[in-house]
């Protein structure tokens, strides 16, 4: 065999691209830095200096009112909020990267297959009907009603899509995409109708929900999404190589020895769970799933072994930063995080697109 015996001087893949480990180290360091910043910043002006006192109060070693206040702000408010921001960012960004890999389309987004819309419709219906006819049904669920509804809505949407696109035992990606757009539009239309029929106060709730917010962060929500975070973290390494094969095309992936049906099902299920859980705790946050994987590809190339975990880290960083801005910009009030993300993200994205051209994504 002629190919067999060549010696190789260097193992580097591409000189112009940073190595995988340097990307991960840099992003992880940035993640911790931003997380500390997120803990230190807030409208009450309590900084990280108060952390030892807050911890003491948490562990029961201090009980004066200042320590109690620090504990409340740092450990009961900012810490769960920071963790949730990280989860939501990671979940949405990896969902976007997975969808883009599966559909071989850099413009694909979790919103595209209608999962976000389905989750949002269920949430909006819960907000409006919660005051009316369905109140007795929803009341026992208490504060869990909204997150549960969003998650179930996302899941039902996904199951409908799989039923439509998987009629012949195989999932047709094209059909799934088109059906996703249709189902998403339908859910959006029903949501619009419900909003049209709602009163002023409900409308304000809906607006906040549809633009996303982490102001309701709590430890309960953190615990609620922890299983999702663990599951996504376990599944992603199993998907990266398969999704790399998909970048060449579905038939080519099969030729490369990839179980394409399994990859499709795993990717769709993971996306539904991630997006459902993210919408459930933070409302509809757009933009992250679209832009973060793009930025990762500009940094490191399209290899999903970097893009997927890298998107998780970068998505977490981005949403934490956006949330800090959301709670500080108009304090003591708060901005919906979706507004902040679009405001900082869109110009950055445009800049990257203009600077790098389409980078071969035509």
């Amino acid at each position: 065999m002629t190919i067999a015996d060549s010696k190789l001087k260097s193992a580097t893949v591409t000189p112009s691209r940073p190595s995988r480990s340097s990307v991960f180290i840099a992003l992880t360091a940035l993640l911790f830095f931003v997380a500390l910043l997120s803990l230190a910043i807030g409208p009450t002006g309590i900084s990280l200096h108060a952390l030892p006192r807050a911890l003491a109060a948490y562990l029961g070693y201090a009980s004066d009112s200042a320590a109690e206040r620090d504990r409340l702000v740092l450990i009961d408010l900012r810490l769960p909020r920071t963790l949730l921001a990280a989860f939501v960012g990671a979940a949405l960004a990896t969902s976007g990267a997975m969808m883009q890999g599966l559909f071989r389309n850099p413009l694909a987004d979790p919103g595209l297959i209608g999962v976000s819309s389905g989750a949002a419709l269920a949430a909006i219906a819960t907000i409006v009907l919660g005051h009316g006819i369905a109140a007795s049904l929803i009341w026992p669920l208490g504060i869990y009603a909204l997150p549960l509804a969003a998650f179930v809505g996302g899941l039902i949407t996904t199951l409908i899509l799989v039923a439509i696109a998987g009629r012949h035992g195989q999932l047709a990606v094209g059909t799934l995409l088109l059906a996703g757009i249709a189902v998403g539009a339908l859910a959006g239309s029903i949501s619009g109708f419900i909003a049209y029929a709602s009163d002023d106060r409900e409308l304000r709730d809906l607006t906040l929900w549809s633009m996303g917010s982490l102001s309701g962060a709590s430890w309960q929500k953190v615990f609620a999404v922890t299983p999702f975070a663990l599951a996504i973290g376990l599944i992603i390494p199993r998907l990266t190589r398969g999704l790399n094969g998909f970048l060449l095309g579905e038939a080519e992936a099969l030729h490369l020895g990839i179980d394409t049906e399994q990859i499709k099902r795993l990717t769709i299920a993971t996306t539904a769970a991630a997006v459902g859980a993210a919408v459930a705790v933070a409302g509809v946050i757009g933009f992250v799933g679209l832009v973060v994987p793009h930025v990762m590809r500009l940094i490191s190339g399209p290899d999903n072994r970097i893009v997927l975990p890298g998107s998780a880290l970068l998505g977490a960083i981005l949403v934490m930063v956006a949330d800090m801005i959301a709670r500080m910009a108009v304090r003591p009030a708060e901005l919906p995080i979706g507004i902040v993300l679009a405001l900082i993200g869109a110009p950055v994205f445009l800049h990257l697109v203009l600077r790098r051209g389409m980078g071969g994504w035509e």
């Binding site: 065999m1 002629t2 190919i3 067999a4 060549s6 190789l8 193992a11 580097t12 893949v13 591409t14 000189p15 112009s16 071989r104 389309n105 850099p106 190589r241 398969g242 790399n244 094969g245 970048l247 060449l248 095309g249 038939a251 080519e252 099969l254 030729h255 490369l256 020895g257 990839i258 179980d259 394409t260 590809r297 190339g301 399209p302 290899d303 980078g359 071969g360 994504w361 035509e362």
Partner: protein, 273 residues
């Protein structure tokens, strides 16, 4: 040996492939020729394990390929599709490396990069490894995908005696004359080194020049097979392609297939000159 036994493929009421039996043998280059819509690509996709036959079966070394897990199958056959479009900005080397980074191959990146560079050298593209794929010409891109298929077969862990098959669907369609020759020389080397090669090709003269065996298809059926000399005869080809064809001898005694009208014009032109 990669073998199709009485394979029929239907889509709806349409029969794409009817009772086709074919063996791709290690050490031989088998060319599949025939007019458009004859079922050549369908046959290739069935043999690649991509399409399930409605009837009949495809076997690799005697085992039905439906019973071989896709990851195992990938160690023993690679495929160059008619056209492959990438929607993300890969470099040439990265695309070829995808051939080695198959789940289950257990190939580490440096090893994959080495194999990828060798495969690129084999198709004459070693110097372009850091270019973006989308910047290359159509012919260069096609050669990159051939390199990927070579890289896959090369790095795949195989047991001794297992067939390694290379399946190519019109690899020369978008290439100029020089690169047609270059690519088919590489393909021919693969068969000479013991691989079973299946080549779907439109150009009858290239098929005649490179193939050990030629299989002629029409309307989803295999209508002729044998050595190039046996299959490339006036009557059979004219009947199959639905136009008058003439076999003329080239200077070195090779057979050339020409549409009759062109052969006549060439002759009268030469006489006039």
């Amino acid at each position: 040996m990669l073998e199709a036994q009485h394979v029929t493929v239907r889509r709806g009421t349409k029969v794409l492939l009817a009772d086709a039996s074919l063996a791709i043998v290690p050490g031989k280059l088998t060319a599949i020729i025939g007019p458009n819509g004859a079922g050549k690509s369908t046959l290739l996709r069935v043999m690649a394990g991509e399409l399930r036959p409605s009837e009949g079966a495809v076997s690799l070394d005697g085992r039905d390929i439906r019973d071989i897990p896709v990851a195992r199958l990938a160690t023993r056959r690679s495929v160059v599709a008619q056209s492959t479009n990438l929607s993300f900005p890969f470099t040439v080397l990265e695309v070829v490396m995808l051939g080695a980074i198959v789940p289950g191959f257990g190939v580490k990146d440096p090893e994959a990069a080495a194999a990828a560079r060798d495969a690129l050298a084999a198709v004459g593209l070693r110097t372009l490894e850091n270019r973006m794929l989308h910047e290359l010409s159509g012919g260069e891109r096609q050669r990159v995908h051939i390199a990927r298929a070579l890289c896959q077969l090369h790095t795949a862990p195989r047991r001794p005696g297992e067939t390694a098959a290379l399946l190519l669907d019109e690899p020369t369609a978008s290439l100029d004359l020089k690169h047609q020759d270059g690519v088919l020389t590489v393909v021919k080397e693969q068969s000479q080194s013991g691989r079973a090669v299946m080549l779907v090709i439109h150009d009858l003269n290239l098929a005649a020049a490179f193939a050990d065996e030629v299989v002629l298809m029409a309307d989803g059926r295999i209508v002729g097979r044998g050595t190039p000399d046996e299959v490339l005869n006036d009557d059979l080809l004219s009947h199959t392609f639905g136009c008058r064809l003439r076999i003329v001898a080239s200077g070195d005694g090779r057979r050339l297939v020409l549409p009759a009208a062109i052969a006549r014009r060439a002759r009268t032109g030469a006489a006039a000159g």
